[in-house]
């Protein structure tokens, strides 16, 4: 199982390639199913995320390449994925990549738009341009200090 986790840590998210599927917190379980195949439980980030099928295929291919011959990828809806599951390492990688990481959810109705830090210059003098960005998981912001627009991972 540890080997399988190590392989999964090398599978990149297709939309944000600096993050692995483990950083993203979408790997919910690694185990053997009743037929003895390696079963990976994967939580979708957004219901309609177009990367889901690619992620499943990438996981299978990476594990096959590492010698796991029988792999089953299972979609796990519940509990629903939350941006809180992105690892500390994942958050650091996002920031370094120029995407502001999601703030921790303070409650189920936590509203975005608290102090968002610009990943370029670190200023918190930023504004929301659009709650919907280039992918379902991102919103678009602008830094009023360095004037650069930037993506932010949405809190969900």
């Amino acid at each position: 199982m540890a080997d399988a986790w190590a392989v999964l840590a090398s599978v990149a998210d297709p939309e944000i390639p600096v993050l692995s599927v483990v950083d993203l917190g979408i790997i919910r379980s690694v185990g053997l199913d009743s037929a003895g195949a390696l079963e990976i439980g994967v939580a979708p980030t957004y219901s309609g995320c177009p990367a889901t099928a690619t992620i499943h295929a990438d996981i299978k291919a990476a594990l096959a390449g590492a010698g796991f011959s029988r792999v089953v990828v299972k979609s796990v809806l519940s509990p629903a994925w939350t941006s809180d599951w992105i690892s500390a390492e994942g958050r650091a990688k996002l920031r370094a990549y120029g995407i502001a990481p999601p703030a921790p959810m303070t409650g189920r109705n936590a509203v975005d738009g608290a102090r968002i830090e610009c990943p370029q210059c670190g200023s918190t003098h930023t504004e929301l341009l659009s709650e919907f960005g280039s992918t379902p998981c991102k919103a678009l912001h602008r830094c009023r200090t360095c004037q650069e627009p930037f993506d932010r991972f949405k809190c969900i």
Partner: protein, 260 residues
């Protein structure tokens, strides 16, 4: 593959019908919003409407796949989406109304977003574990949709005299289709009794409050009553649905088995 008994109390046909209502409303609305791609007034709105459509489509896929599983007749999400006829669709008629101008689209979106937020929030407590799981996922996305559409209701309603007039016109045109939203029929009541569906009255009361508050903030009038008694959720649609389905289904029907 049903691993556990999900809805012991509800009979299969009723549950299938109920899941189709949720699925088809999301699917049809997603199809409508998709038509805005490349045509919205600004790039942010293009992205906002497209992202909302994508979430709705994802929710519809989960729900349709589940409906197919309940039915047990081998119909998967694609077959259910692309090979059913107009009269077999169970979406609320509001979802199928044409895009019109941006005001029409926003009012339609707001009314459905507010409804879905209240519905999915409560559906998380369903005895049907699969529906509860889908609802828990969907409600997070739907809150984003509502913030977006509500934001535009207020900005345009309390905007210029032109934007105000267009918003009020859209509300007055679309409000009649909310009758089926606020009226529980026999199926809604039966599934609530079985613990599958939430209390319709509670959903409607919360929805009405959201609408009243938003319209008031937007200086818009909320019409008194909705009398349109032709219910999409019972398969009786306006002529717009047939046109929408013709476009949505032609590729699948014209090229059976086609894949990307």
């Amino acid at each position: 593959m049903i691993a556990e008994p999900r809805a012991l109390a509800a009979d299969k046909t009723a549950l299938f019908e109920y899941v189709l209502r949720l699925a088809d409303t999301s699917l049809v609305l997603a199809q409508r919003l998709g038509a805005w791609v490349g045509h919205a007034p600004a790039i942010e709105e293009d992205l906002g409407l497209a992202n909302t459509a994508l979430d709705l489509l994802g929710q519809a896929r989960l729900l349709l796949a589940y409906a197919g599983e309940i039915e047990g007749a081998g119909r998967n999400e694609d077959v259910l989406a692309f090979l059913r006829e107009e009269g077999e669709f169970r979406n609320i008629a509001l979802a199928e109304q044409p895009n019109g101008d941006f005001a029409d689209t926003i009012v339609r979106q707001f009314l459905i977003d507010a409804y879905q937020v209240e519905l999915y929030d409560r559906l998380q407590g369903s005895v049907d574990t699969q529906l509860a799981a889908i609802a828990a996922k969907a409600v997070k996305e739907t809150r984003y949709h509502l913030r977006y559409s509500r934001g535009w209701v207020v900005r345009l309603g309390d905007g210029t005299s032109e934007s105000h007039a267009r918003m009020q016109g859209a509300i007055d045109r679309l409000w009649k289709y909310t009758a089926e939203l606020v009226t529980a029929d026999e199926l809604d009541s039966r599934l609530h009794a079985a613990g599958v569906a939430p209390d319709h009255e509670a959903v409607v009361t919360a929805w009405r409050t959201r609408a009243r508050e938003a319209f008031s903030e937007a200086t818009l009038d909320m019409p008194a009553g909705a009398s349109y008694a032709w219910f999409g959720k019972q398969g009786r649609h306006t002529e717009s649905l047939g046109q929408l389905l013709a476009e949505m289904q032609y590729l699948y029907r014209g090229h059976p088995g086609a894949a990307w």
